[in-house]
């Protein structure tokens, strides 16, 4: 069992307040179970399934687009992307991919987190990792072939695998 070093300067308050306080410091932090080592997102008081205690760890910020949509707005309001991102740590989060047109976001696209600000509120968004090839069709893409994963859908999804295995890593 690993015990990653406790992060100094733990913000006060409940999980949501701590998460947002870290973001305000410019740090994208997620949680990790002290019992199983599995990562947890969204912020909570205990690991789902086991009830084990959690500690904050820095997220790598690297992830892959799992699902994507475009929220169509009436002109002149611009439409925007909403996506589910599988972080390399094995957790999934809702976010959006910026830096490309919202409809150009592709499932399988490799992305990297960035902390943006909306008014006073810090929010984690993602940019395409491969800026040379922002459509996500490059060799880093999980699913360049289109029709893949049919037999191993659940296994191919890190978050699903985590949920079913109890998150042992």
């Amino acid at each position: 069992m690993t015990h990653p070093q406790e992060t100094p300067g733990l913000p006060q308050g409940g999980p949501e307040q701590q998460y947002l306080a870290y973001l305000a410091q410019g740090r994208f932090m997620i949680q990790k179970s002290v019992a199983t080592g599995a990562h947890v997102y969204y912020p909570r008081v205990a690991e789902p399934g086991t009830g084990a205690a959690l500690q904050w760890v820095a997220a790598s910020g690297l992830g892959t687009v799992y699902a994507t949509s475009v929220m169509r707005q009436r002109a002149p309001t611009p439409s925007y992307n909403v996506a589910l991102i599988d972080l390399d740590e094995g957790v999934r989060m809702m976010s959006r991919v910026e830096g490309v047109a919202p409809e150009a976001v592709r499932i399988g696209m490799r992305v990297k987190a960035r902390i943006a600000r909306e008014g006073e509120t810090p929010v984690v968004v993602f940019d395409p990792l491969d800026e040379v090839n922002p459509a996500g069709q490059g060799p880093s893409s999980e699913t360049a072939g289109g029709l893949v994963n049919t037999g191993a859908a659940a296994a191919a999804s890190p978050a699903a695998a985590t949920a079913r295995s109890g998150g042992r890593s």
Binding site: V70, M71, V82
Partner: protein, 390 residues
């Protein structure tokens, strides 16, 4: 794994039955409150069985914005219930109510169970009413709930299985075809795949025609023990199985966006009923969005996982097709007053009672009603049958 041993499933197959099932106010009912519409549907359903509100001693309801509606609805109708259930699992709630009503009836906790719902959200609010707050970890990204969640699921299904927008559109076209046979349905004019595709995009890949209606409407059913049912109703619809499952609340926490918990609720309901998907004569699925019908056909075992898009092609689930699905026109074309599952049940019961008019599936003996709640979150399956299936 668990320190607790699994118990045997003793669901009382065929021991309870629906003896009355009615809708009221489908479409627009300006000037009426949700509770007015639900009460009228309840009185109609009770009347079919020769009963009145004072005969009811079990009340199961969840009105859109009344969190104590088990109490207020009982007061409104002059019922003094021994059992009330206000369970809220989203739009699926009313099939969970049937599940608990069956148990309450069989243990003598009540004798006449009323399950009801009503909403005036078209003429009242003009848009889908949801009291569910989007949590901070999703709200920051301004998803349009619930459509964003289903759009994400559709995007994943298309990516993984090659499902097309045309196949999604076929679901809407089939629903509209059935609605054309239902005088109560809100939208009855035929529609084409091309019209669905060309409609206003709401959240890619779903256009407004991939999305359910927002209407007013109410529904109610009355359940009793089977031995009573035969005295109250010429053709009771017996509850053969009912089961629920849930794996998440928020779409970002759904383990696999192409597999719903219907795979679990359906398998248990089929086992309780002792029947197989191929034996079901009429299928009523909660079609809040076109992707729902495809996911549920797969998860309930009507076709293999990933084949739902191809399964619905060529009018297979439309009038005249091999499998009658959503024969009232569904949430897509008949009625969707915020929570829809009780309308699935009413349609299933009317088909089994032989009362479905021009859309009647000849000789229907086995019907499935499947409810969905939240964003593919709560899944509840009920299987009903005529006396021949007991």
């Amino acid at each position: 794994m668990s320190a607790v041993t699994a118990g045997q499933d003793l669901f009382p197959r065929g021991k309870t039955a629906v003896v009355g099932a009615a809708t009221h106010g489908i479409g627009e009912m300006p000037g009426f409150d949700s509770i007015d519409l639900a009460a009228q549907a309840a009185i109609k359903a009770l009347g079919q069985a020769g009963l009145t509100p004072s005969d009811v001693d079990g009340v199961f309801i969840g009105l859109p914005q009344d969190f104590l509606s088990g109490l207020s609805f009982s007061e409104y109708l002059g019922i003094r219930p021994r059992v009330t259930d206000n369970n809220r699992t989203g739009g699926s709630a009313f099939i969970t109510h049937m599940f608990w009503a069956a148990h309450a009836l069989m243990t003598g906790q009540c004798n006449v169970a009323l399950v009801a719902y009503g909403s005036n959200q078209r003429s009242g609010a003009g848009k889908l009413v949801s009291s569910q707050k989007i949590p901070f970890f999703e709200a920051a990204y301004k998803p349009l709930m619930p459509v964003s969640a289903y759009a994400l699921a559709a995007s994943r299904h298309m990516h993984q299985y090659g499902t097309t927008r045309e196949q999604l559109a076929e679901v809407a076209v089939a629903a509209r075809g059935w609605a054309g046979l239902n005088p109560e349905a809100f939208m009855r004019d035929p529609i084409t795949v091309q019209e669905v595709l060309a409609a206003r995009m709401v959240a890619d890949p779903l256009t407004v025609r991939d999305c359910c209606l927002v209407t007013d409407g109410a529904a109610a059913i009355v359940m009793t023990r089977a031995d009573q049912a035969r005295d109250l109703c010429a053709k009771p619809a017996y509850l053969l199985g009912a089961a629920a499952a849930t794996h998440h609340m928020n779409i970002s926490a759904m383990p696999d966006l192409t597999v719903t918990a219907a795979a679990e609720s359906g398998a248990r309901a089929f086992a309780q009923a002792g029947v197989k998907p191929a034996e079901i004569d009429v299928v009523e699925l909660y079609d809040a969005f076109t992707i729902n019908t495809i996911l549920f056909l797969e998860d309930l075992g009507f076709c293999p996982k990933g084949e739902g898009g191809r399964f619905v092609q060529g009018g297979r689930i439309a009038p005249g097709g091999a499998l009658p699905v959503n024969t009232n026109g569904g949430g897509l074309s008949c009625v969707h007053p915020g929570m829809y599952s009780l309308f699935c049940v009413v349609e299933a019961v009317q088909q089994l009672m032989g009362q479905a008019g021009a859309r009647q599936v000849p000789g229907a003996q086995l019907a499935l009603a499947h409810g969905n709640g939240g964003v593919l979150s709560s899944q509840v399956t009920a299987i009903l049958g005529t006396s021949e299936t007991l």
